[in-house]
Symmetry: C2
Subunit: 181 residues, 2 copies
């Protein structure tokens, strides 16, 4: 139902800001293949766009993760499946990390919720015995995010296909958190 033009703007904005956080609205408009005035018709201003991006980023990640893990056999398996889906959305994740948006209550709330859900899922992974005892759950979560970013970076640099990259990420993550060297 969401406007087609708005979707195009948001997608272009993710790509643009991922490459250059200081990009102007004019650059975003050009990247989206539209006029600057049109961008303003859809989003009141920069702050407005940023908020919409943050909310969409969170929602996209939620949706993709849920879909990918729908028929996982375990939490550990869900993490593996989710990783695949997340790699394609690393620009969203990067945006959320890069742009300071704590001052927008709605964004802060959703961000916090998502973070808690991921942490809870990681606790379940721990119960399944996939994480060494000395590794804090917070570390496992951060490492998970870092691996999705790293996989995306490999793909972006043309050093691997998405499939190869997420396989490497999973290998590194699972054996890295299991911890038996």
């Amino acid at each position: 139902m969401t406007d087609k033009t708005e979707t195009a703007i948001l997608n272009a904005a993710f790509a643009t800001f991922a490459a250059k956080p200081t990009a102007t609205l004019a650059e975003v408009a050009t990247a989206a293949g539209i006029g600057r005035a049109t961008l303003h018709r859809h989003f009141k201003g920069r702050e407005d766009l940023m908020t919409a991006l943050a909310l969409k980023a969170i929602k996209d990640i939620d949706t993709a993760f849920d879909k990918a893990t729908r028929d996982a056999e375990s939490y550990t398996d869900a993490m593996r499946l989710g990783l695949d889906a997340m790699v394609a959305l690393a620009d969203r994740q990067t945006f959320l990390e890069t742009e300071p948006l704590e001052h927008v209550p709605e964004v802060a709330k959703e961000y916090e919720r998502q973070r808690e859900e991921l942490t809870a899922a990681m606790e379940e992974v721990r119960k399944e015995g996939s994480i060494a005892a000395n590794i804090p759950t917070a570390w496992a979560v951060k490492t998970y995010e870092a691996m999705t970013y790293t996989a995306w970076s490999m793909v972006k640099d043309g050093e691997a296909t998405p499939k190869q990259a997420s396989a490497l990420a999973w290998q590194t993550l699972s054996s890295g958190l299991a911890g038996d060297t």
Copy 2:
């Protein structure tokens, strides 16, 4: 020999831009505890400051890494020792990743050189048998950088001391790249 004020500016700038890539020069000046005019006396403009930051970031990382690994027993050991040192400099690493500076030849050249050195060192680590055969060196390098960032993030969020964080990073990295789950 480098000016004390300039050092203060650069350090404040790293912290400021790490937290908010779109920060203004006024914000940097305030963070450095100096007037905006003084900042302009030391750096012609934004571009000038960015270039100086990039060069300092590269140099700081080189210096810290060299110092930390001076008496390593092996390349693998050097990576472990280097990790400790790098965690404290993650703001520099973040800056280099965040700010697009390919268009400044001198920066691009130094950045490339450092990257090649790190890759070469990682190749040696591989020869020492610390990296699984199916893992590309490029992946190992990126993961190394990701782990320093992750460790820094843990410290920043107050979830670990620098020592704990770099220990976790090394555990994850070494067993993750060894790859035997």
